[in-house]
Amino acid sequence: MTFGSWLALMVALVLAYEAVRWLRQRALRDGGGRWRRFFRHPTTAWGCGILTFLVIIAIAAPLVAPLDPIVQPDPVGLKNLPPSWTFLMGTDVFSRDVWSRFAYGARISLGIGALGALIAVALGSLVGAVAGYYRRWIDSLLMRIVDIGLALPRIFILLMAVALWDRLPFAWLALVIGLTSWFGTSRLVRAEVLGLRERDFVVAARALGAPSGRVIFGHVLPNAAAPIIVSAALSVGNVLLLEASLSFLGIGVAPPTPSWGNMIADGALSMYGAPWTTLFAGLAISLVVMSLNAVADGLRDALDPREDAA
């Protein structure tokens, strides 16, 4: 670790902590009902803090990481070193700095998580809204597709897709994961839309002459925002886990590019001798998923319309 990377790491820690603390204090002191409910549980604040920290690390990876994550300085002499002041998280079997790989891996893993979840939620909302609003044959058709999608183990679909294209570039991997992760969301949104389409304000909007697209996207979906947002937060965690498992199986992000899944795969063989090679990446994945769950809980509380009575 160089002085610069220590400094950057400290700044990132303090920044994440202070930002969340400031937001929480403001929310609890003079925020509206929603913000207060969001921060009501301390776990939500912790979740936010951890996510903020990791996102800062991902964005500032070149500043935080002292070494190139791919370079192998001395595969013999510097192999599997335990964490120390020089190598914050130790080195892996190829003598690469685990901390540098961790920081750059955050970019890939969180990036795929966010992008994949975005695709999954957008597609799921669209399909769910169309199926729920139009009903009839289009609903049956789309929901049978969803049934099939949910019935097939996702990992096999992904294996097939990945096998077809060999090594996928980053964006494609996110796209493929996103395209296989929308089924649950679409069911959720459909159920919500089925209830909303019977509401008087939807009839009122149609009576005003609004075309179907405007009714669906302008009137129905905004009322389903709460479950969609919560499901988006949970999706990020799911996609992240999926990316990790694919990379662990050696068909996700192409090595030597670091991702948290790749790191676990690389360290798996030396896990007993050098646990730090897998520990930190695994810990990060678990932490992100738990944090996202905590944040989703907070969002659910914050967006619950029943707590928002007039």
């Binding site: 009903r135 009839r136 019977e198 509401r199 008087d200 304000f201 009839v203 009122a204 909007a205 149609r206 009576a207 005003l208 002459g209 609004a210 075309p211 405007r214 009137h219 905004p222 009322n223 925002a225 319309p305 928002d308 009575a309 007039a310």
Partner: protein, 338 residues
């Protein structure tokens, strides 16, 4: 009060809206051969008990009946300015909805979208039909709020529906409906969900706006008091059928159909000696099996065998008055059975 002289603005002929019920319990004939005319500038009331097809009639005019399970049968005609609304392409129909024919709903609590400000919702019709910019539409919405008598319109415009009272919300609904100055306003029980003082205010507001904008109003209600004070002509519906049409004054002076008679007798009177309130015995039958013959005969105090056997057509009772009742031909039978 205007007397219809010109051609009808809206002509409804033989409107049949049926609902297919689940579990094969048959077809609910919610609206069955309903015909009426609406003339420019007049207020036509449609009265009847719950379940007699008033709301379905009003929804059918703009083809807002949920399909499935509902459908409007071929052979029905809803003609607006010479065009059959039932045959219009969706796009043309949308250009009429909210623009030429607008609607106000019963429940101001649920008919406004909870996630948008009232300004956004009022501006919507102007944006859809007149392609106004957001800025211009907002000014328009403020103007409309002022028109419907909401104080501080430039502040209220940014309020959400839940921040307003029921009466205010109904005013917002009216503003939404009138943004494009429609020629016909369909008001489906606009005051049922409001308390009595607010009810009077809203109806007065509607009357005033009607004068100002010169529109025709189709006022759907179960409240004969509202009918008496605010309509020019009345259509009485029972069991999916029109049973009586008359000028408002004529209806109250000389109710012809026994159902209308029963409705009028059921109105509580302030000056009458205290007695039990009159009620029409029984209930509106289920729409899946209307009685044979005259649909009112099981509840009718005058019914005789002909009523159960044969349904009367709408018979002319003179002075613009028609009634679907054999009593028009045999008035001597108008004596309650012992």
């Amino acid at each position: 009060m205007t007397v219809p002289t010109s051609a009808a603005l809206l002509r409804v002929r033989d409107l049949k809206t049926y609902f297919v019920t689940e579990h094969g319990r048959g077809t609910a004939r919610a609206v069955d051969e309903v015909s009426f005319d609406l003339y420019p500038g007049e207020t036509l009331g449609i009265v009847g008990e719950s379940g007699c097809g008033k709301t379905v009639t009003s929804l059918s005019i703009l083809r807002l009946v949920p399909e499935p399970p509902g459908h409007i049968l071929p052979g029905s005609l809803i003609e607006f300015e010479g065009r059959n609304l039932l045959a219009l392409a969706p796009r043309e129909l949308r250009s009429i909805r909210g623009n030429q024919i607008a609607m106000i709903f019963q429940e101001p609590m649920t008919s406004l979208n909870p996630v948008f400000t009232v300004g956004d919702q009022i501006a919507e019709a102007a944006i859809i039909h007149q392609h106004l910019s957001r800025r211009a539409a907002r000014d328009r919405a403020i103007e409309m709020l002022r028109l419907v008598g909401i104080p501080d319109p430039d502040q209220r415009i940014d309020h959400y529906p839940h921040q307003l009272s029921g009466g205010m919300r109904q005013r917002v609904m009216i503003a939404m409906a009138l943004v494009c100055h429609p020629k016909v306003l369909i008001a489906d029980e606009p005051t049922t969900a409001l308390d009595v003082t607010i009810q009077a205010q809203i109806l007065e507001l509607l009357d005033g706006l009607q004068q100002e904008l010169g529109m025709a109003v189709l006022l759907i209600t179960h409240d004969l008091g509202v009918v008496a004070g605010h309509t020019d002509r009345v259509v009485v519906m029972y069991a999916g059928r029109v049973v009586e049409t008359a000028p408002t004054t004529g209806l109250f002076e000389r109710p012809t159909h026994p159902y209308t008679e029963g409705l009028l007798a059921a109105v509580p009177r302030v000056h009458a000696p205290r007695s039990r309130l009159h009620a029409i015995p029984g209930q509106v039958p289920a729409a899946t099996d209307w009685p044979s013959g005259c649909r009112f005969h099981p509840r009718c105090p005058y019914a005789w065998d002909k009523c159960a056997a044969q349904e009367p057509p709408l018979l002319d009772a003179g002075e613009g008055h028609t009634a679907r009742c054999w009593l028009v031909t045999e008035p001597e039978r108008r004596q309650a059975k012992p």
